[in-house]
Symmetry: C2
Subunit: 219 residues, 2 copies
Amino acid sequence: MPGLTIGDDLPNFQVETNHGKMKLHDYVGDSYTILFSHPGDFTPVCTTELAMMAAYASKFAAKGVKLLGLSCDDVQSHNEWIKDIEAYNKGQKVTYPIIADPKRELIKQLNMVDPDETDSSGHKLPSRALHIVGPDKKIKLSFLYPASTGRNMDEVLRVVESLQKAAKYKVATPANWKPGEPLVIAPGVSNEEAKEMFPQGFDTANLPSGKSYLRFTNV
Amino acid sequence: MPGLTIGDDLPNFQVETNHGKMKLHDYVGDSYTILFSHPGDFTPVCTTELAMMAAYASKFAAKGVKLLGLSCDDVQSHNEWIKDIEAYNKGQKVTYPIIADPKRELIKQLNMVDPDETDSSGHKLPSRALHIVGPDKKIKLSFLYPASTGRNMDEVLRVVESLQKAAKYKVATPANWKPGEPLVIAPGVSNEEAKEMFPQGFDTANLPSGKSYLRFTNV
């Protein structure tokens, strides 16, 4: 199925949201942006997800990250549903915009269609897709979850921090990495360059191949 | 970019692995299977990821889940590299097979190409794609991470448990759900049906819309 994947440009669509009309690139601006779709308003997992995103909004904002929801319901539905989300969320406000895509044009272009899910009229519904878009308007990382699996905002926060570290330093984050733990030095960096780039030092794993490619540091 | 997404069939390719030749559907059999690609052998993040997968292999096996790696290196490279992985992993063995795709045919078909990463000869490399394939040979859930972000095997375990719960009961897992926490009842289940299906009972959230779609239970 065609659609967006990492490295692709986010198309600069004009979209309608419950905060008014906007062009996607204008919204992204110079920030990382989390564009996430949900199958439908007034459904259970979606309510817990949009509530959790509202609860995490300040953590994302502290990293300069914007949030942008999307479903195929219309703006009036979004505004009515937000009352439910905020009540469930003990009054915590949904401050990010939610795109209305009742014609299902965006979800096809943005690789957010779930072929297993249809509404009562037989129309296709979005999957739980989540694309992290960089300040360069390119897709950096994507999750595609089915309707039955709610996303994990701690994992989303974790990968945002990884992306931002790798954009700032020549590093990458190892498996199961958490913020504060050692990172690895990118393979393209020679040991001589690494000594200059990382004056705090680095530890090289001693491996049977004798190759020194696994180097840990802290930044 | 064309490629696999959730709901698509896993193509039944004949593949070469460090455990010999196999057809993908024969390997999947009646199990959930995690098919995960890595950019390259003898590189830092990949080593930590394949080591972590080896460390988690018994947890996945306990859920009846098989593991299957993939990169564009050849079988000889995989076998040499595994010595490094096992040494780094304090001797823990890499028991799952790793596909060798030196002609880069599979990574294109399986939506595992990272357009930003090339090897020293300018050839495309795989992203950190991870597809969870069901016993029906369909893609259930996908992660697409860039070379600089190692995956989180705890999140992979979490979503496997969610998929298995939803396949067994008419439930779904809310945002940030962890095994043992309450689940939500699927929207298509009426309250009357829910009373029969979930004799342990369920709690319905009291929402401003007056709709009773957010129902929590334990299974």
